[in-house]
Symmetry: C2
Subunit: 721 residues, 2 copies
């Protein structure tokens, strides 16, 4: 009998499942979607070259490699792919280390492998013994895992793999997510639900999501995670919580993800029952030493501490008349025998309101250069204020040659529209990394400071404040995933271009369809500039809503500290707008190298994007466009809204190419973004108009409501505090 | 050419998707899994009888009916099932109302439909015009939807549908979930993550989860939801939030789910700028009237208010020397023209600590019977204290014949192990519902009070405090889903047995495999008694940890109110244990009917399960088992642990019959439950031993630690506060 009917009914049943699986495209899979390759030519190439898969070895990490190849190739090639210990076919995918795999060892590769270091890998096409090998080789199992993800990415993005000759190793040694997660599962500046860490059910219950989180991080090379908020709770250092941290560390270990904790400086008092936390007190030193030993009993590969001290109310060494170096070194001495490090944040406030907030980190830390232990890194935000949509690079980069500096980027969009605005951050991160500090002459980029190459530091690190939470799609905005992805990719290789990262991410997250790639990339590449335009154009900064930072608040004044208000930062008056940071003002500019000062001190040569950051400019001043400052401000704010409108239009045109659930969510969020952009423009222009006394240029839309209306808006329960 | 290869490769591709869909069994689908029917005979019957599906009409609710039948039958029968407006085949599934469907009208059914009322439905096998109809008929589209879910349940549980003759209508008119959700998304007594309501993104963003929530509720007949915590925030009544509530109401409406809000009694002061909230003040009355009119402008079918007043610090009419009736009636008058109702909670505290907390609700509310408006219901917890693992029924049931009483059950397991203990609550709910109040002689069950039949009330309601949150599987514990399911089923029909509800739920949630059904049912049926035994056997109550209520705390004393402590409730002393509520004690027993008093006042006839609730019993008193009270206490606590051990063993044996993700989660939670049970036993026995001065009987395990050890345990950041 013909068996077609059986096939057919099975097929129909399966199609139903397939259908429901397509329907359920809720973003949980991130960029790790392994849908079948649509390009027939490439698919054929892959199927030919990957006749069988051989992985020798059985470590937990290699087990993940096997699972990933099986799942990945199963989906991408549309056929079940068994992973074997040895093979018989002619065209073989081979993954492993020289030490763990005789087949890899037989291929030679000794020199090439030496060059890529402990975490790097090779992807090679190589003939041997009459076979065609596609090789993923590394010096460690973790390197093999990283190589595996890279290899699968080539297939996901439908690249040619006929003649592979990839050598890859990370430019930064430590690539770390910073979670500002509190023990009650709220997340400071978190806009994607709540903390992933379900502390109450730990250490017993290992949520599947913990493994999926580690897997996603491994796929982009992230190798460390600080589990807790920099505004720290010492409770996490008690045995009860250390057991919970241990369970997470055990779950993450096979993925190469090391665990770090934030250390509250006053812990010796709060949980150690000491009378002081003075870093020079012998009892305090002994307490931390014992605490560190205890931690390493639980977690032998514990990464170390991230510390926020003497900043925004956090305790620190200055409480005892000691310096930041005294505090950091005391912790470093405790960690040093175990191989742990201290990341000491430079984001500090003292008790006095400075003449210019922008100067404080440099003032406090530059003199300490050379006084830190070898296992101390100073962690510096990309700019001197606080993760604004645009800031000039932080003057500490290049100014502390004897100290390895950690770059702290904020992936979570505290100041860039939070959970609902589309803002692709790669151009922002790149802008900082490519800035020239001139610390050792031209070409002394921030990237070279951070990767250690400028000053010969072997310790190097990049930290990203995570935008991840319990939301099903991890990041609230589907495009927030791109920023997590970007952080990992740039931490591995800061020379990648924003375009290339966007290209990879779009192909893996949506599809390889050329029209979609090109239009979505276009949206992404302009999105951060759109935010700058509708929030803080021309160098404006820190003029958002009080405390929650959502929406505009240029009128904010009379708060506990002047440098927490908007009027402090924009300095609007009847004459003009902007913060004079030149010699005639706060002279913060003097913290930069002379070459930088030379360019920025003159409003005529200062890039307009930084104009109001460094200069108080008259309302009537003509800018490059030929317009006055006031008119240009009006045009910039309006341009921001126009960009969002364009994104809305582009996205609407892609309805047939994106699954309905994600398409609808992005559409809705773009509408929110549009309305918020208008809110920003109307509120800011109406407010600044009270100083400029000038009309909005003809042809530009008039504000919808009065200034009073906007000043009364008071959104409650904004997430993230 | 033979087309087999094409089918084959498509088949393999599809199987891959199928595989990944099985792998992803994360509990999100609840009991709404539509896997193919495994019983070949039944499958054949279904396929024969359901040759085609006809639904006439296009309302949003009927659209859901169509989608549900298409998805449901597609999965269950393993074939694509198009839903048509008219049919040609012989064996037809026909769904609709007489008004909306000519085909349904042609079948007659007028009398039968009249009998099932506005929400009820018929499921019938009927021949007409030479066709075999399987009919889902109702008087409203919502009735059709309810019938559709019932019909699909028959297939999911693999019942014979050859000769259907089902008439079903709800025994309670309002079947309402109470969400104790705060506007910051924390959930009071919530153990499944955070609030589903993402207020910040409303009204724009409609999370797919809102629709899935409404669908799940509709599938078990729940027709109302109170979105906000009874400890209320008046902000939800401002236009900003009412717009958000409207978006939810619009999303829920097609599923028959009405929206209610909690009304903070002091709202006229807080958001209305009045100087008082006195319910007899004309300005206050006018404010509420206007507020209600405003709400109905947004939500024309708004359900009404749930109010917690003069209880645990909440404001209320007593602040102004008025009664609960004054307060409720004032709101009722505002709601009455719009058809809204007031549910006024009887769970009250006044400022004085009463001689017996158990008496207070009765004392305050019984005298008010007959003074409430027609659209006021008084909402009464199942017992007089506070959702303990076991309580005698609340004495108000039967004591307020002129007032319709809402039964308030707590689905969330505040006192029954919270997010990680397996406790199937149907036996607990049924225990209360089947209790005889003797209010109108024997047979005056609580159920008859609640469904209105005892006193001829047309308004009737059952409320369940939700156990739902953002956790992927909705309820934290996979078996928590059974309690949500149970609440809906019992609110529809309180005569269903716990066994039947468990049977349905297991088949739909796991499988129709007989061994699995029988063993899981066995686990479930004994699980609540296990919790009673290891927490509060023999009528003990309210001896848990302070504030968060997690774990044992029989030693709790010296708190702001005596009736918030454990020692107040267990009254342990050197003589014995238990709260004397007879004539020689607080005489709370006098609040029950004479027949009840007669049985409970004598320790010899009082059921042992209530013994220490009503009596202070000597340690040496012999109980029915022949053991002394002290020995029986030791045995009961131990039996609780043994039950959990037995569940662990049973569950381990089912590893091959449950998907790995859910199996592992339940295993882990059973381990936590076991450890917690031991914690409860050891802590309570050691503590009570300081009074009894007696040894733990030979043969029973000794406590693992000292009493001091347990008293020092202090879990932090317990969820749900």
């Amino acid at each position: 009998m013909d068996k077609k009917p059986v096939y057919l009914s099975l097929l129909i049943l399966c199609l139903l499942f397939t259908f429901s699986s397509v329907k359920a495209e809720d973003g949980y899979q991130l960029w790790q979607r392994y849908n079948q390759v649509t390009n027939k030519g490439q698919l054929k190439q892959y199927q030919q070259l990957l006749e069988e898969v051989v992985v020798q070895g059985n470590s937990p990490t290699l087990q993940i490699v096997k699972d990933e190849l099986q799942t990945g190739l199963g989906g991408l090639l549309g056929k079940t792919t068994a992973v074997k210990e040895s093979g018989g076919k002619k065209n073989v995918l081979l993954a492993g280390t020289r030490n763990g795999s005789a087949l890899v060892k037989a291929l030679g590769l000794e020199e090439d492998l030496k060059a890529v270091g402990p975490e790097g890998y090779l992807l090679l096409s190589q003939k041997a013994n009459g076979k065609n090998y596609t090789v993923i080789a590394a010096n460690s199992d973790l390197g093999v895992l990283y190589g595996t993800f890279h290899f699968l990415r080539l297939l996901q993005t439908q690249q040619d793999i006929q003649r592979l000759a990839v050598k890859s190793s990370p430019k930064t040694k430590l690539r770390i997510l910073n979670h500002w997660d509190n023990l009650d599962r709220t997340v400071e500046r978190g806009y994607a639900g709540f903390s992933l860490w379900d502390w109450h059910k730990l250490p017993d219950y290992i949520d599947q999501r913990y493994l999926d989180y580690a897997r996603a991080n491994a796929s982009i090379g992230i190798n460390g995670t600080v589990l807790t908020n920099v505004n720290a709770n010492s409770l996490v250092l008690t045995p009860e919580y250390l057991k919970k941290v241990t369970a997470l560390a055990n779950a993450f270990r096979p993925y190469g993800l090391k665990v770090y904790l934030t250390a509250r400086f006053s812990s010796p008092i709060e949980i150690g029952k000491l009378k002081t936390a003075d870093p020079l007190d012998p009892a305090v030193k002994a307490w931390w030493q014992k605490k560190v030993e205890e931690i390493y009993q639980y977690i032998p590969d514990f990464g170390g501490f991230l510390v926020k001290a003497n900043s925004e109310g956090q305790p620190g060494p200055q409480n005892y008349g000691r310096t930041h170096a005294d505090g950091a070194n005391m912790l470093a001495d405790a960690l040093s025998p175990k191989g742990g490090i201290v990341m000491w944040r430079a984001f500090v406030y003292d008790n006095n309101v400075p003449d210019d907030r922008a100067k404080q980190a440099y003032s406090e830390f530059k003199p300490l250069d050379g006084t830190f232990r070898k296992n101390v890194m100073v962690q510096v935000k990309n700019g001197a204020i606080d993760f604004q949509p645009r800031e000039p690079f932080h003057p500490l980069f290049g100014a502390m040659p004897k100290t390895p500096l950690v770059m702290e980027f904020q992936i979570t969009q505290e100041y860039l529209g939070q959970g609902t605005h589309l803002a692709y951050l790669a151009p922002m991160f790149k802008e900082t990394l490519e800035s020239d500090t001139y610390a050792q002459g031209k070409g002394s980029t921030v990237a070279k400071v951070v990767d250690g190459s400028l000053n010969g530091h072997s310790l190097s690190a990049m930290a990203g404040v995570a935008n991840i939470g319990t939301d099903r799609n991890w990041t609230s905005h589907p495009f927030g995933q791109a920023n997590w992805y970007t952080f990992g990719r740039l931490a591995w290789d800061h020379s990648l271009s924003s375009e290339q990262i966007a290209d990879e991410w779009i192909r893996m997250t949506f599809s390889n369809e050329p029209k979609l790639i090109s239009e979505v990339k276009n949206m992404m590449m302009g999105s951060r500039e759109a935010v700058v335009n509708y929030m803080t154009p021309l160098g404006l900064h820190h003029i958002m809503g009080w405390s929650h930072h959502y929406g505009p608040g240029p009128w904010i004044k009379d708060k506990p500290r002047a440098d927490w208000t908007s009027v402090y930062f924009h300095r609007a008056d009847e004459k003009g707008l902007g913060f004079n940071r030149t010699k005639t003002g706060s002279n913060a500019l003097a913290q930069y190298a002379p070459e930088v000062q030379a360019q920025w001190q003159d409003p005529a040569t200062c890039p307009e994007k930084y104009l109001l950051w460094f200069h108080h400019v008259a309302w009537d001043q003509k800018l490059a466009s030929g317009r006055t400052l006031w008119d240009e401000l009006c045009y910039k704010y309006t341009a921001g809204i126009d960009s969002v409108k364009a994104m809305q239009q582009t996205w609407a045109g892609l309805a047939s190419q994106v699954d309905p659930e994600r398409h609808k969510q992005v559409s809705t969020f773009l509408k929110i973004q549009h309305d918020d952009a208008k809110w920003w423009r109307d509120a800011c222009l109406l407010y600044f108009q009270t100083f400029s006394k000038k009309p909005i240029p003809a042809g530009l839309e008039k504000p919808e409501h009065t200034l009073e209306y906007y000043q009364k808006l008071d959104p409650k329960f904004v997430p993230g505090i």
